[in-house]
């Protein structure tokens, strides 16, 4: 509005007489002022988040680019890093420890590499989630945006990272005799469900990490335990064949193992449905919904407090 400029010396310090005697709350009420920084309702929050989608996308790809911008090889590292990772794990688990018992080499190598990449996707989403708020307090205290943008953005960054890894993965799968087929289309729903699960988990970790930044020190150990328990480098069924069946069941129905197995099933020719637990797609969907929605609501509940640190 252009006609709002008043000269310098309008009655500034003394409140106007019309509203004298009103309490601040009543005055705010009268002029329709709202509490600054109040938490919006859940649906309003979703709407705000949707209107910030371009920021979320730009922020995640900016983070991804910034990651290797000082390296001479630049973005080549996006592909080289997962490749080197796969090589190291193959050296130790494939050649030295012989963890691939019960599988041929043509199945085991893609099996191992898929497991590592897919688990890394969840692992790095969790680790980025822990620091999403606590590591970006400057941003949270400077600008207004739905705070869920941060954990979502970091998970999206990890998804883009995974897509680079998929280039390596596809090359390895083809090199070991698994050729593209219609079954590869199952990659899309499987990755999508895992992404939703990861975002939910990242939001839970973001809220916890904003209160307790120490989680950043603790989580690597939790994640490593989870990795070894999820059969990243061995087949749970084969390894636990002589143990009570319920142990293997628990391990196989844990979300990390479910998503890993689905993607292996989609990608690897020699890895058939007999390796999947029953109702695997339902389980994958359930994990995604429970964590996706639950994590979102849990994060939103503390929305107005993230600036405090």
């Amino acid at each position: 509005m252009s006609d709002t400029q008043q000269g310098g010396a309008v009655a500034t310090s003394a409140p106007p007489s019309v509203d004298d005697g009103l309490t601040p709350a009543a005055l705010a009420e009268k002029y329709g002022l709202s509490v600054s920084g109040a938490r919006p309702g859940l649906f309003e929050y979703v709407r705000e988040l949707w209107s910030r989608r371009h920021f979320i996308l730009a922020f995640s790809s900016a983070k991804l680019t910034a990651q290797y911008s000082q390296a001479k090889l630049g973005q080549v590292w996006q592909v080289a890093t997962p490749l080197l990772n796969a090589l190291v794990y193959y050296l130790i688990f494939g050649l030295i420890l012989d963890a691939g018992r019960g599988m041929t080499k043509d199945v085991y190598i893609p099996f191992l590499v898929t497991g590592i990449f897919v688990f890394t996707f969840t692992q790095s989403s969790v680790m980025a989630g822990v620091r999403a708020i606590s590591g970006n307090l400057g941003l949270v205290r400077a600008l207004h945006f739905p705070r869920a943008s941060l954990p979502i953005s970091f998970s999206l960054q990890q998804l883009q990272q995974l897509l680079f890894s998929m280039i390596v993965l596809v090359a390895i799968a083809i090199a070991f005799g698994s050729y593209p087929s219609a079954r590869w289309l199952l990659l899309l729903p499987a990755l999508f469900l895992q992404f939703v699960f990861n975002v939910g988990l990242a939001m839970i970790m973001a809220r916890m990490g904003s209160k307790t930044p120490d989680l950043a020190q603790l989580m690597p150990f939790v994640m490593r335990t989870w990795m070894y328990a999820s059969g990243v480098m061995f087949s749970i069924q084969t390894m636990l064949a002589d143990k009570p069946a319920w142990i293997a069941d628990i391990l196989m129905y844990n979300p990390a193992a479910v998503y890993m197995d689905l993607i292996r099933f989609a990608l690897i020719d020699g890895y058939g449905a007999e390796n999947l637990p029953a109702h695997v797609w339902m389980t994958a969907l359930a994990w995604a919904l429970v964590f996706g929605i639950g994590g979102f609501v849990y994060f939103w509940k503390a929305e107005e407090r993230y600036g405090r640190g």
């Binding site: 601040p24 705010a28 002022l33 509490v35 680019t65 600008l143």
Partner: protein, 265 residues
């Protein structure tokens, strides 16, 4: 709203109301006073005073501030370092939650500044886009203002610097681009935290001009500054904060005179 209420003058319309605002920071000190690991461990094991023993210290930065700002006002915030000026500004913007008391605002006040959203490893070009989106502009808005931002910053006056990463800029150039991005958006309630003096003399003049423009468009302006001159030039009302408390609230001349008397001693 008030527009229908014809017997009320424009300037009688409140835009920001602070009602007994208290703000407390909780600082993780990484184990409290003594830094050694054993000291930290003994504090965890021994049951000391609950919060102190966990290495959390409370800093009571703003203590019971109450004021009402009206449309059309430009309000200066003065006080020594650490008196709670910036903290109060963040609470008005809704970025810091209050411990007790409430801040009521008309619309969404915003701080002038996007520094926190920018990334030094990215090109100036991408930072302009990222910063614009972070401030809540739409993609189309960013696109239409892009050239204006780059021209205003004057980054390209010495060659094609906008396509280089921001870490290669001199500190002055970086500050100019940051200001140009931040000042590209219009705000209802504008909060400025000592953002005025950046860059060389030529750019300072340009940025002061831009601030005046933003002021005209904004309903209410808050300015935190240690320069009494820029407060005098800009503001018609001044709040003087000391140790988190409102020491004085009145017309610029009156408050500044008292402040100058106090600081001269």
């Amino acid at each position: 709203m008030a527009d229908t209420d014809t017997n009320i003058k424009r300037s009688d319309v409140p835009t920001v109301i602070c009602d007994d605002v208290h703000i407390v920071y909780r600082v993780n000190t990484g184990g409290g006073g003594k830094g050694s690991a054993t000291a930290a461990l003994s504090r965890i094991v021994g049951r000391g005073k609950a919060e102190v023993s966990r290495g959390v210290r409370k800093v009571h930065a703003v203590r019971g501030v109450t004021f009402t700002a009206y449309r059309g006002e430009a309000i200066g915030l003065i006080g020594s370092n650490g008196s709670g000026k910036s903290t109060l500004l963040r609470a008005v913007a809704g970025l810091l939650p209050t411990e007790s008391g409430k801040v009521y605002t008309d619309g969404q006040p915003s701080l002038l500044g996007v520094n926190a959203a920018l990334m030094n490893d990215l090109t100036g070009e991408r930072n302009v886009i990222l910063g614009g989106l972070a401030m809540g502009m739409s993609r189309e808005e960013v696109r239409s203002r892009y050239d204006g931002i780059v021209d205003f910053s004057g980054i390209n006056e010495k060659g094609d610097f906008i396509s280089l990463p921001m870490r290669t800029y001199s500190s002055g150039m970086g500050a100019r681009l940051r200001f140009a991005i931040a000042a590209a958006k219009n705000h209802d309630v504008l909060l400025i935290d000592e953002a005025l003096a950046t860059g060389d003399r030529k750019f300072q003049i340009r940025s002061e001009e831009r601030i005046r423009e933003l002021r005209k468009e904004a309903g209410t302006v808050f300015l935190v500054s240690h320069s009494n001159k820029s407060i005098r030039d800009t503001c018609d009302r001044v709040l003087w904060l000391e140790k988190g408390q409102l020491l004085m609230d009145g017309p610029t001349d009156e408050v500044l005179r008292a402040y100058e008397r106090e600081t001269a001693r």
